[in-house]
């Protein structure tokens, strides 16, 4: 019998705000335990919740980049449950009127539809200390703003899931909505999965998988869990129950989270403290105006308008920092192909050597453009250009001053070049003879010798021409 897998995704993404959703504590990751905590986010009484405007704007931005319908009047509601990481005993979320509905994201050959996106506050973090057999609570993450992006059950394969997550990550990082770092927990994904006979209209028993913190883990978890469902259906080895399961990446299996299995009734009700918030077209437009060009549109522009190769365009347009460098540089030196070649060639080589990922490359675009311009104008040659770029990359030196100080300007004075060539020819009589007897190989060697004599500053093209005319004339 053949089976098909049906999956829906719930993706939690932390919003890139400076402060938390309902207080002014810092929302930044990486502080010492309980450093970013005030009476409000510690759940003390008497601190009214005041929503962070920026978080709502990032919610609007998320709606815009996912083609969603924005709700004209949104509300914040309370979800009640007891857990030590939840200091107030309730989570403020959007249950009755989420920020948007009915969005979609296209992946290869398929449109994934979204049920809704809602804004909510994160919970704290429990740290288990096995040695003292105790559990500690870190409230830094409490009330950090999140959006939850809920898809419809439109996924059939793990590849579709990873492509969707990659696409979502791109859309959200580009728009500055979130940094989407799975390792740091600023992007988290729960997968709802069920398996049914191919062609059947009825969905099978659904389980929810949690606790996967990489795309690889998600793929493995989906493969494991769908196989578990198929085995259960085929052999009756176990009875499938609707439940939440935790993925264990080291063991490579999912486990039932029994403690959460009691039927949860969250007793949602509108938060009386926070008035309904009106989102009018003016506000939406002002958020729209601040959004950068989406990655797929950037890709289109790079390939169709600027004529760059697809491969280069894909690399540049899928990294926020590379596309910023590219766009910054073409403004100063309007040679898109040259700039793309320098990014793909020299810049990525230098950064790879330094072990810096594409997204974290940081360089002064003005200096970057300046180097390319100097090369294009024949003021320095390309290898000097790379050397200067390395200096800019590592020490942020001033390229023009550096070139002047180190006398790196290109030697195109034919008198000087001729003198250097004559010296090389005189010193390498054997090679000259070999060239004359038909060896092309030594020509390259002789060019190299001339470059060495001019400390790499000669214009390679002039050296080529002059040397060849000299050798052929004799």
């Amino acid at each position: 019998m053949t089976y098909e897998v049906v999956m829906g995704l719930e993706v939690h993404v932390e919003l890139s705000t400076n402060s938390k959703l309902f207080c002014s504590c810092s929302a930044k990751f990486g502080a010492d335990a309980n450093e970013n905590v005030c009476p409000a986010c510690a759940g003390m009484p008497g601190m009214p919740a005041v929503p962070n405007k920026r978080a709502i704007e990032l919610g609007i931005a998320a709606a815009l980049v996912t083609n969603s319908e924005i709700t004209p009047v949104i509300t914040f509601d309370k979800k009640n449950y007891f857990y030590p990481d939840l200091p107030t005993g309730y989570q403020i979320t959007q249950w009755f009127s989420p920020i948007c509905k009915n969005g979609w994201i296209d992946i290869t050959g398929k449109r994934i539809t979204l049920k809704q996106i809602h804004i909510e506050e994160d919970a704290g973090k429990l740290v288990h200390e096995p040695r003292s057999r105790s559990t500690l609570i870190d409230f830094n993450r409490t009330s950090v703003p999140l959006i939850e992006i809920v898809s419809n059950p439109d996924f059939e394969t793990a590849d579709e899931v990873t492509e969707y997550l990659e696409k979502l990550r791109l859309l959200l990082t580009f728009a500055g909505i979130s940094d989407c770092k799975m390792q740091e927990g600023s992007m988290r994904c729960d997968v709802n999965i069920s398996v049914r006979e191919k062609g059947s209209k009825i969905l099978g028993t659904r389980t929810e998988i949690k606790n996967m913190n990489s795309l690889k883990a998600i793929t493995r978890a989906i493969e494991y869990e769908s196989q578990r469902h198929i085995d259960a259906l085929e052999t009756g080895s176990e009875k499938l129950v609707q439940e939440t399961r935790r993925w264990d990446d080291t063991i490579g299996a999912t486990f039932s989270m029994r403690e959460k299995e009691e039927a949860a009734d969250y007793r949602y009700f509108p938060n009386p403290e926070i008035m309904p918030i009106h989102i009018d077209n003016l506000w939406i437009q002002s958020v729209k105006d601040t959004l950068p060009e989406p990655a797929h549109e950037k890709f289109e522009r790079l390939t169709a308008k600027l004529g760059l190769p697809e491969y280069d365009s894909k690399i540049i347009s899928s990294s926020q920092s590379l596309s910023n460098i590219f766009d910054g540089a073409i403004k100063l030196h309007n040679k898109p192909k040259d700039i793309s070649n320098w990014i793909m060639g020299e810049l990525l080589a230098i950064s790879k050597e330094a072990g810096i990922p594409d997204d974290d490359i940081c360089i002064d675009t003005q200096k970057f453009a300046c180097i390319i311009k100097l090369v294009d104008e024949g003021k320095i040659n390309r290898s000097v250009g790379k050397k200067v770029l390395t200096e800019v990359f590592e020490k942020n030196i001033d390229p023009e001053a550096y070139i002047a100080e180190n006398c790196l300007a290109m030697v195109s004075d034919t008198g000087l070049l001729e003198a250097a060539i004559n010296e090389v020819l005189a010193e390498n009589e054997k090679s000259v003879l070999e060239y004359k007897s038909g060896s092309q190989k030594v020509f390259g060697f002789l060019v190299g010798q001339v470059m060495k004599k001019t400390a790499g500053k000669a214009d390679p093209r002039s050296v080529n021409e002059l040397l060849r005319s000299k050798l052929d004339a004799d």
Binding site: G46, P84, P87
Partner: protein, 310 residues
């Protein structure tokens, strides 16, 4: 200013245990001053003490019996206080104030900051002024009101109509039920932060997280609060939300919209209507003034209501 004021225990003062009349918060020391405390101190008003009107601020959730004001009455008698600030979300305090020959000024919802007030029923919570002398009360109100609340510009003679004229009678019977549903729902939610984990009372013996929660709350909350928490959980539960909580919210809106101020400025009510009158002002967020044993409300008193934009 020459006045001295006492605070009901739900109004927090930095460094002072804010017990809120509950064993749950016996050892809880407030870490900041309520806005009203800051305002009183900057106006040089002496805060001469704290007293409790009941667990989490007000009695009367489940009964009309109220003996909470005994301490306040003696404070007024021995001149240790000119006014007491409290949160009369149930309406029991203002009703009792009238019986005790006191005034109670209940400002419009939101006119006095809730910052630093231990919450009970957030959509009703409102710091009001219990006083012996009306003029003193209004002067204190001027000090504690929010900066952006504007004084009313209407100065003409005011017309008063009895409650029976201004609001549709069919709703009278349901006021107490609506109050109870909304109050219990919100109160249950507001006290969910007291779980024995971070601060407040924690039971001595427990062997699981659930037991820690259950024992701490069972041992520390009083009977009325426990009942409110149970009813609150019931009316907010998935099955009961629509027939109870949602319906109560709809009725509340309906009542507010049905109030007819087209030919009057002030709605008056007498003692026999007291159980529904405070509920009306609290459900609709309206300001109200309770006067001692008045059989007739003078125009001057009504003018106060408007002039001070309660």
């Amino acid at each position: 200013m020459k006045y001295s004021v006492q605070l009901e225990e739900t109004i927090m003062q930095k460094g002072i245990p804010g017990a809120a009349g509950s064993k749950m918060l016996e050892n809880f020391i407030a870490v900041f001053d309520a806005t009203v405390v800051t305002l009183l101190m900057s106006a040089d008003i002496k805060i001469t003490g704290r007293l409790s009107f009941g667990e989490f601020g007000a009695p009367g959730l489940f009964s009309d019996q109220c003996d909470a004001l005994t301490a306040a009455v003696s404070s007024f008698a021995n001149s240790s206080a000119d006014a007491v600030l409290c949160n009369d979300y149930t309406g029991a305090i203002c009703t009792e104030a009238g019986r005790q020959g006191l005034y109670y000024i209940h400002p419009a919802y939101g006119t006095v900051s809730r910052y630093g007030l231990i919450p009970a029923v957030t959509s009703i919570d409102q710091i009001g002024i219990l006083c012996k002398d009306k003029k003193t009360g209004f002067e204190i109100f001027d000090i504690i009101k929010q900066e952006d609340s504007q004084p009313c510009v209407r100065g003409q003679t005011l017309s008063c109509v009895p409650m029976t004229h201004a609001c549709p009678q069919p709703y009278y019977d349901v006021y107490p039920q609506i109050m109870q549903i909304l109050c219990c729902g919100e109160l249950a939610n507001n006290i969910s932060r007291y779980d024995g984990i971070k601060f407040g009372y924690r039971a001595k013996d427990y062997s699981s997280l659930d037991e820690l929660y259950t024992k701490s709350r069972t041992e520390a909350f009083g009977e009325d609060i426990k009942l409110a928490a149970l009813i609150g959980a019931m009316v907010l539960s998935e099955d009961n939300y629509m027939p109870y909580y949602d319906k109560a919210m709809r009725l509340r809106r309906l009542i507010k919209n049905s109030l007819d101020f087209s030919d009057c400025d002030v709605i008056t009510a007498t003692a026999e209507q007291t159980s529904s009158f405070p509920a009306l002002s609290r459900l609709c967020g309206l300001p109200s003034l309770t006067t001692p044993s008045a059989t007739y409300i003078a125009n001057s008193e009504c003018e106060d209501l408007l002039r001070y934009d309660l």
